[in-house]
Symmetry: C2
Subunit: 334 residues, 2 copies
């Protein structure tokens, strides 16, 4: 994690009424202790003032961040007409969070920033202003000109990386949402992402089964035989190192984790249960398949504790560190 990219990271504060401003400010406070690279915050300065009395310096160009970062939090200001109070989200705040996200992505796209770290937004508020994406990931993909099908969410902790094939899908709809083509596409995105973002030249991907005991030879479900095995075979035929389908319950202990660089999981909780059981405070969401680096802490706006100095900044610090790590790896290979 010691490598730093040569340009600053762009960190959107997320919803101004959420815990985003607080955790970003706390990260700046601990910039030395956490060994954080230079970053520029993007959002409403009043959302910081509500929860933090540290120094903020408004800048207009990310190139100024380098000179400011030592003595103040560099901020690219989003002008909000009305300011949210912590814990009280509004439509204005949703616009502000969306503008910050758009600017952060634009700076990374243009090369002014080394990558984007996104603070938590309120989907409910965003939907009320006409946002049509399932989440920030899909919005970022669209802004980068990448189809949703070619991006993947990777959850990263110190000893485990997981990629869910399906995400926010009810369990009853998971089997019908899976196809060999989708599993193969997600697997390929995961493998390329391991090369590009993590600097692993020949990554190994372990693919889970869907059913208990990976279907027990068809006795407990046939998705392993009909969908997962063909996807694995297709990836292997391209020369990738891919193992599985593995029974999901025996994939995540220390000895098993040592055998692969990432686990491709069939559904949300299969990927997130082990990641959060092992690495709750350090889990980072890394979007793979984009032309830019994008990470996010794996938590929401937490409106219920916003403004109370109770938010844990460790996930945001881990997301900033991870973005720097991925950006530095990309600078090495590109």
């Amino acid at each position: 994690m010691a490598r730093s990219p040569s340009r600053p990271l762009a960190v959107s504060l997320g919803d101004p009424a959420g815990i985003g401003p607080e955790v970003v400010a706390k990260c700046w406070d601990n910039r030395s202790g956490c060994d954080l690279p230079v970053f520029v915050a993007i959002g409403d300065p009043r959302s910081l003032a509500h929860v933090w009395d540290g120094p903020v310096e408004l800048i207009e160009d990310p190139r100024q961040a380098d000179c400011v970062f030592d003595h103040a939090l560099p901020l690219l200001q989003i002008a909000a007409t009305d300011c949210d109070l912590p814990g009280r989200p509004t439509v204005t705040g949703a616009h502000c969070s969306l503008d910050a996200l758009e600017i952060a992505v634009g700076l990374s796209r243009s090369g002014s920033a080394a990558g984007t770290v996104t603070g938590p937004v309120s989907k409910e508020q965003l939907y009320s202003i006409g946002f049509v994406h399932p989440g920030q990931t899909e919005f970022v993909a669209e802004r980068c000109g990448v189809s949703r099908g070619n991006v993947a969410m990777m959850l990263v902790g110190p000893t485990l990386r997981t990629v869910p094939v399906t995400t926010h899908v009810p369990v009853a709809d998971v089997p019908a949402s899976l196809s060999a083509a989708l599993i193969e596409a997600r697997g390929r995105t995961a493998l390329r992402g391991l090369q590009r973002n993590f600097g692993i030249p020949e990554p190994t991907l372990a693919v889970s089964g869907l059913n208990p005991h990976a279907g027990e030879g068809g006795m407990l479900g046939r998705e392993e035989i009909e969908l997962i095995e063909p996807a694995i075979a297709a990836l292997r035929a391209e020369g990738w190192r891919v193992t599985g389908p593995h029974p999901a319950d025996t994939m995540f202990h220390a000895a098993a984790r040592a055998r692969y660089d990432a686990a491709l999981c069939m559904y949300h909780d299969q990927a997130l249960i082990p990641l959060k059981a092992l690495h709750f405070e350090e889990g980072v969401n890394v979007t793979l398949g984009l032309p830019i680096v994008r990470t996010a802490p794996d938590h929401g706006t937490a409106f219920d504790i916003a403004g109370q100095d109770r938010a844990d900044p460790r996930p945001m610090a881990a997301a900033i560190q991870m973005a720097a790590f991925c950006a530095a790896n990309r600078e090495l290979v590109e």
Copy 2:
């Protein structure tokens, strides 16, 4: 774990061609280091002789185990007409494993043994001799006169206990297999089991959701609202401490685990992924709802490594310790 029951435990060796005999023998070797209580092994002495050159002493009554255990592994002999070699399961071996299981349960039912620990069997071999149960658990339940619906499998590790509501069911069939009545029954069995086997007078049960984010208020599935919440309400109305439905991915980190005595999970992997991610070598299967204590190591026959001195005895040692712990707790309250 220091308490020991006043009678020996009955430990069936499982399939003679599997790793059961080896891990039981290794447990006796380490009886002091692991602080194991007196137990009597039940099975074919030749299956031990194939993999172990330690002392075995045949006994005819479990009461003799106490005098033998210090200097030899006490064994109740099952006469097999033909003996299996390690890694080469046969029909004869399946009969032997079933006889051992039946005797172990009988000794516990009669009070001659403090409880039963079962070595791993081959379901495939058992099915070939007419065994009609999904596993040893259901066989033990039947021999104890308890209906399958009223027993529950609890997976126990040092910092986590989980109980799956459904077990060996394909993911596609899980939603239809769930009902409020089943969730309620499993929850009640779990809570009573925590009182009886673990000595927790007022246990707290945390109930998981089925879907990502516990259904997100019905947006990602309605089982939480229609099945799980009514089951929780019914248990609370009886005075039990029950929380949830919780998003499954945020239930298993250390701070979350500290808030409950057991987690009731909706399906196999939801219960087993966190347990094995955290406690792979120490996971014990405890059957709740029986008149007797029954535990098992959470692994199979592992025919592929049998007879090679490679089997890890820690899960079997944990299962023996856990049976002793549960039996001692029962002796206290009964």
